[in-house]
Symmetry: C2
Subunit: 227 residues, 2 copies
């Protein structure tokens, strides 16, 4: 589970404060498939980064599987993230000097997986996202949507119990996007992974059982649905 | 106008060749509003880059307003691009150490506009895309969709006669995206700018008068419509 208590995030710009989050309370249950939607600048990426303990709130708390992440050392935090959380970043954050295979394999370095097994699992994940033939391409030698799929594959490297995906299909045509979402659905239904997807696309939020609407740094409303 | 004759682009990867474009003939008429759609990896960004003379084809030719760009010197080419073409790149290509205002103003440096006028026009363009209040933010201090809108504003800096936009609304919520497209439509209808938009979103291609479908590096089909 991921629980947030009254999260605020204020960015300071000289004398100007930007309130990206203004008091967000959320509880994401184990195995839940949740979409977060909202206008540009409403705080979605900020929220996802805080939920994944990639940044610190100005005030408020985040609990991951009952653990208050604000109380962990940097080492403990890095270990928790490596083992439990897979991220798909809005702009992928791929390593430019590594090819697709090594990008996907990288998270497994931090969880002590052997090199041979890393490369085997990375190749299977690339096949899962339709990019087996492009394993040797570096990010600059891939299309936008191909880079995005490498990012999705990398998020799955350690078979995390929580997946936080920031616009995982924004650069994909509808058909490729549906294949990626179908794969994430399988993970959710089949293996009980908790998945939070930030998306602007209705065909993506439509398959989620719960949709949280953000606006101006606050949860405006939620819809819980039968899918 | 932009005309391409039998464009091919082959990327060489050691012993492997990737054929991104395999013979594309296109004629974009002055004042036309055209969408280019297709699956991830079908060659859309490659085509746009060649049409804008940002890259060279393997074979084939590109004519911009009747001029064969392959025959221009680097200096002549840079001058033509600066004066005639506005780009919205798929991943924005903003300058990280410059704030939003200076990013938008940058193209005007190359067309000899005074500093004062540059900043005035840049501020008006930021207002047009709803980001007047964020002019001092650097790209890392902006949301994904906000960065994208800065990229759109920059593309308009020199009031170009040709706009090439690679997924200009991919990171925007539907409402913000429609505002951006509405603005591009005004430019097209009101000032006769030629606009080519690569998009995966039907609500964007639906307002274009012509849609070109790419697949595996070739034009698969076209639809010309009454909008
Ligand atoms: N620099 C490069 N080196 C090698 N291959 C490349 C390079 N750039 C692109 N490619 C390959 O060329 C093909 C076309 O790429 P392109 O970026 O034009 O696709 P696209 O239609 O824009 O895709 P997307 O919708 O995912 O952005 C892809 O198969 C891609 O892997
Ligand atoms: N590092 C930063 N410094 C200053 N302001 C920031 C920073 N990061 C984000 N912001 C601001 O905080 C607000 C929320 O940003 P955030 O990236 O969370 O929005 P978002 O909902 O993900 O938007 P989008 O849909 O455009 O990606 C925006 O107004 C943005 O300008
Ligand atoms: Mg975002
Ligand atoms: Mg592309």
């Amino acid at each position: 589970t991921v629980v947030t208590e009254n999260l605020t995030k204020v960015y300071r710009m000289g004398k100007v404060n930007v309130e990206a989050l203004r008091g967000v309370d959320l509880r994401v249950r184990k195995g839940e498939l949740m979409a977060v939607v909202g206008p540009s600048g409403s705080g979605k990426s900020t929220l996802l980064n805080l939920m994944g303990a990639l940044d610190k709130p100005t005030t408020g708390r985040v609990f991951i599987d009952g653990v208050d992440v604000g109380k962990l050392s940097d080492f403990e935090l890095a270990d928790l993230r490596a083992r439990k959380i897979g991220f798909v970043f809005q702009f992928f954050n791929l390593i430019h000097r590594m090819n697709a295979l090594r990008n996907v394999a990288l998270p497994m370095v931090f969880t002590g997986v052997s090199r041979r097994e890393r490369e085997e699992r990375a190749m299977k994940l690339l096949e899962l996202v339709g990019l087996r033939d492009k394993w040797r391409h570096r990010p600059s030698e891939l299309s936008g949507g191909e880079q995005q799929r490498v990012a999705v594959a990398r998020a799955l490297a350690n078979n995390p119990s929580i997946i936080l995906a920031d616009e995982p299909t924004g650069n994909l045509d509808t058909k490729t996007g549906e294949e990626i979402i179908g794969m994430l659905l399988k993970l959710n239904k089949g293996m009980g992974q908790t998945i939070v997807i930030v998306t602007h696309e209705k065909h993506v939020s439509d398959v989620c059982e719960r949709i949280v609407y953000l606006r101006d740094g606050l949860v405006e409303r939620e819809v819980v649905r039968k899918t």
